[in-house]
């Protein structure tokens, strides 16, 4: 799973959100590092919908324009949990290796 998809699922884990709110939340979650553009957002949303990880929660008409709220599905929650666990394990492994590296003679790190 790519970073945009992971962050979008994370944004929707809190509550159903519409497109613009997802963009803003992703920026907040990533501390300003990831700025999703509209084309990318809707291509990822479509893919996640197709995979059954998210679904349309409700639709509204706001000033003559459609606003759709997306929510995380059960499969989406499970996938997000698995992905978080995988990333955590990788991060733990990397941290452990880096910690060991500091004590190796000749690395200049210690």
């Amino acid at each position: 799973m790519g970073e945009p998809a992971f962050l979008i699922l994370t944004a929707l884990a809190a509550e159903p959100k519409h497109g613009y709110a997802v963009i803003e939340d992703v920026r907040e979650i990533s501390e300003g590092r990831v700025r999703l553009h509209t084309g990318t957002l809707y291509s990822v949303l479509d893919r996640l919908r197709e995979g059954g990880l998210i679904a349309v929660d409700r639709e509204e008409i706001v000033r003559s324009r459609l606003r759709r709220y997306y929510r995380l599905t059960g499969a989406g929650q499970q996938r997000l949990a698995e992905e978080s666990e995988r990333l955590r394990r990788n991060a733990d492994a990397a941290a452990a290796r880096l910690a060991a590296l500091r004590f190796l003679p000749g690395t200049g790190a210690a």
């Binding site: 497109g19 613009y20 709110a21 963009i23 803003e24 553009h37 509209t38 084309g39 990318t40 957002l41 809707y42 291509s43 990822v44 949303l45 479509d46 893919r47 919908r49 197709e50 409700r58 639709e59 509204e60 008409i61 706001v62 000033r63 003559s64 324009r65 459609l66 606003r67 759709r68």
Partner: protein
């Protein structure tokens, strides 16, 4: 007030608060996306783009433009991301391709099984079929088998090979027997529609769209339809005569004209089992999602239109052409009808599907807006 709330209060604002020129420029960029994606997300994307725009912004930002163009090109080239939007079309194409390829295997096999058994029981010898018949059967068998898999190219190529064989066979016979071309035109239209569907299905698989229960019904019905004529022939009474001729009587004492193809002996088994299988298939398809069902109808419509209108309209031609040597050939107008009818019927079907869905979508939106307005009205009094 946070940035999001500030946007939320005026977000996705209407044309009265937004620069029309910016809106039009964004619309032009969104027009680059495939129609399916645009229909599903266009309005929503425009809302997000205008919400994210700075006050007084007149042109789309460079990064936003690059992102929109990049995503549109990616989807046009077949990249992922247009799934839900185009899912119904691909799903319907996968189901239609699978069923049509199966039909192109089942119907020749019905004839071949029955005829081989007939000749063996009547004369004690086997009929010989041309290599082309076996090659065509093999091509459609590969297409039907590959239609169950994600090997899109294999299924499409095999189906095109089968369809082109059908067209070549008709073309070869045309100058000697133009009636054959007219009578079997619907088969060519059906074969080409199957090949087109298997080409357009993308990564969708028919059985995934049908579901396990419906796929099982399709498989059982196809197998039953295949063996019915052979079973009929096996149980029939065959009485060969020394002069090389003979007679056959279907099991059960009733002989009828074939309802689903014509083969050597047709009796009570065909009369009961064939319609039951077709009814089971129709019942199975009628329970599918309306979006898939509508598209299936649009896909089969050209074949049905040709099968229903060509025999009565070309009856005079069929009767007269055999009386001349060399036979009378089709006129330009008749060719125009044969080629144009399937195309026009398909386009008309596609147009009706799109109109019906747009209509249903707008009704849904209207109802949602009405509900929302009623809730808002009820709020102050509560």
């Amino acid at each position: 007030m946070s940035e999001l709330e500030a946007h939320g209060s005026a977000d996705q604002s209407g044309p009265d608060e937004t620069d029309h020129r910016l809106e039009r420029r964004y619309e032009r960029l969104l027009a680059l996306f495939p129609a399916g994606h645009r229909a599903e997300y266009g309005d929503e994307m425009l809302g997000v783009l205008l919400t994210a725009a700075r006050p007084g912004q007149r042109f789309p930002g460079l990064r936003e433009t690059a992102d929109l163009v990049g995503c549109a090109v990616w989807m046009r080239l077949g990249g992922r991301g247009g799934g839900v939007a185009d899912g119904r079309r691909a799903g319907a194409a996968a189901v239609y391709g699978l069923l049509a390829a199966l039909a192109m295997v089942v119907f020749p096999l019905r004839d071949i099984g029955s005829e081989l058994l007939w000749s063996w029981r009547m004369w004690g010898e086997q009929l010989a079929y041309s290599p082309g018949v076996w090659a065509s059967l093999a091509a459609w068998s590969v297409a039907a088998a590959a239609a169950f898999t994600r090997f899109r190219a294999v299924a499409a190529l095999a189906a095109w090979a089968g369809a082109l064989y059908q067209v070549a066979r008709m073309a070869r016979a045309y100058f000697e027997s133009p009636g054959y071309l007219v009578q079997s035109w619907w088969v060519a239209v059906f074969a080409v529609s199957a090949a087109l569907a298997l080409t357009a299905r993308g990564s969708a698989r028919g059985q995934s769209v049908l579901g396990t229960r419906r796929t099982a019904v399709v498989a059982v019905a196809a197998a039953t339809l295949t063996v019915v004529p052979t079973a009929e022939m096996l149980l029939a009474t065959i009485e060969p005569r020394p002069d090389g001729f003979g007679s056959s009587h279907a099991w059960g004492g009733i002989s009828v004209d074939g309802m689903f193809g014509s083969y050597s002996v047709e009796g009570v088994i065909s009369m009961v089992v064939d319609p039951l299988c077709v009814l089971a298939l129709l019942a199975c398809l009628s329970g599918m999602a309306s979006g898939i069902r509508r598209r299936l109808a649009a896909m089969v419509m050209p074949t049905l239109a040709v099968a229903a209108t060509v025999p009565p309209l070309f009856n005079g031609f069929l009767m007269s052409t055999v009386r001349f040597d060399p036979p009378v050939l089709l006129s330009a107008g008749e060719w125009l009808y044969l080629v144009g009818l399937p195309l026009v019927t398909f386009l008309l079907g596609a147009l009706l599907v799109e109109r019906a869905e747009r209509h249903a979508y707008l009704i849904g939106l209207g109802r949602a807006a009405e509900r929302e307005a009623r809730l808002r009205q009820a709020e102050p009094s509560a």
